[in-house]
Subunit: 203 residues, 2 copies
DNA sequence: CCCATCGACTTAACGGTGTTAAGTATACGA
DNA sequence: TCGTATACTTAACACCGTTAAGTCGATGGG
């Protein structure tokens, strides 16, 4: 037979085409500014065809974001393997997180800035099992390692990780959204932020 | 004469009616979910009437946000007057900032989370002279006071203020947008964040 | 080999959005 | 009293995400 397999391969190809077209548009112009009709134009199909491959517009985005955040998770896990010093590992991880956000501003925006989580009527982003969770997991592990090595002091690694994450997110998201603000300099801000946080945790 | 004055008073009244209706809808349902037609329904005028009083939808929002953020600015300036100890003043200011954000999540969202500043096609929020600037000004003053009293160490108060603001913003915005995240507890997070930051700045 | 079926895809439409152009009615000053 | 300026409305434009219905060609069974 084999025709069935070929058909499925072709379906998969078109699915990838949609994802690729959508990613390029989302990343360059932002989710809201890209319409289903424009994605359809790009792949030269009618808009409704997309609905044969994805439930709705948000589903396309979710899949793209998972793919992208998998890169962040891998990068963080690599740091975890390569850097033996716990405190340095934490510092490098923080840097990598912000760097990732600034490199993929539209992905970052969609997952951590824009979402309408918990809002009535809003599509809930599923956090459990997501790449975002894996990335946060790295941060908590790094904090626990530092605590074990007595590099930092904390009686609640979860709390500390969340505080750390919130701060990193704050700088990342502000640099993304308030682009024209008279910032004191990206790299200086990043260094000063991470330095202050780690100093604060060492007490 | 006097009819001109009366007319202007009536125009001003309708303008306020629009603002009030829009504020209530924006605050309870969020900016994006409220349409011009619904605002118009609420005040029992046709949608186009609104355009005689405001340039567009964003202009309504901007005015509402300025009014709301004026409250934050006043509150921060009050703290500045009442609290003599610079470090305590900074700490209270940080608390007030986060507290304000959590109390006015939709206003906060619109000014600091959602905006498309600097994006081609996006309406630029004018930062200069805004209430947001006044609020940030308080933070910088507090940092400078602390530095002068040698409560904290910094060779660049502007840089330090921005880092501080970014961290506060991070927690505020995450608590607003990722409502269903398994947070370690609002108050504990706030305390731990501010504590860590100030400890880090004291070195 | 023909025909029915099924799957992929399209066309047309629904109900919504922000916004604008054109039209109407009313209250006012001369 | 009349003409005009003002306040407001109706109708429309160009979009949006999404769905229902229809087309058409490839496929597999008799």
């Amino acid at each position: 037979m084999g025709t069935k397999e070929r058909r499925e391969r072709e379906k998969e190809n078109l699915r990838r085409e949609i994802l690729d077209a959508a990613r390029e548009l989302f990343v360059t112009e932002g989710y809201e500014k890209v319409s289903m009709r424009r994605i359809a134009d790009r792949i030269e199909y009618s808009p409704t065809t997309i609905y044969l491959y994805f439930e709705d517009k948000a589903a396309i985005l979710t899949e793209i974001c998972e793919e992208t955040f998998a890169k962040l998770a891998r990068r963080l896990e690599l740091i975890r393997k390569k850097q033996p010093d716990p405190l340095e590992r934490l510092r490098e991880g923080c840097r990598a997180y912000i760097d990732f956000g600034l490199r993929h501003p539209n992905h970052y925006r969609v997952v951590f800035i824009d979402p309408i989580h918990g809002k009535p009527g809003g599509q809930d982003y599923v956090y459990e099992g997501s790449m975002g969770e894996r990335a946060f997991g790295f941060l908590r592990l790094s904090v626990e390692d530092c605590a074990a090595a007595e590099d930092i002091r904390t009686d609640d690694p979860e709390l500390t990780s969340q505080v750390l994450w919130a701060s990193l997110h704050g700088l990342t998201s502000l640099l993304i959204t308030l682009r024209e603000f008279p910032w004191a300099g990206k790299q200086r801000l990043i260094d000063h932020l991470i330095g202050t946080l780690i100093d604060g945790l060492r007490r």
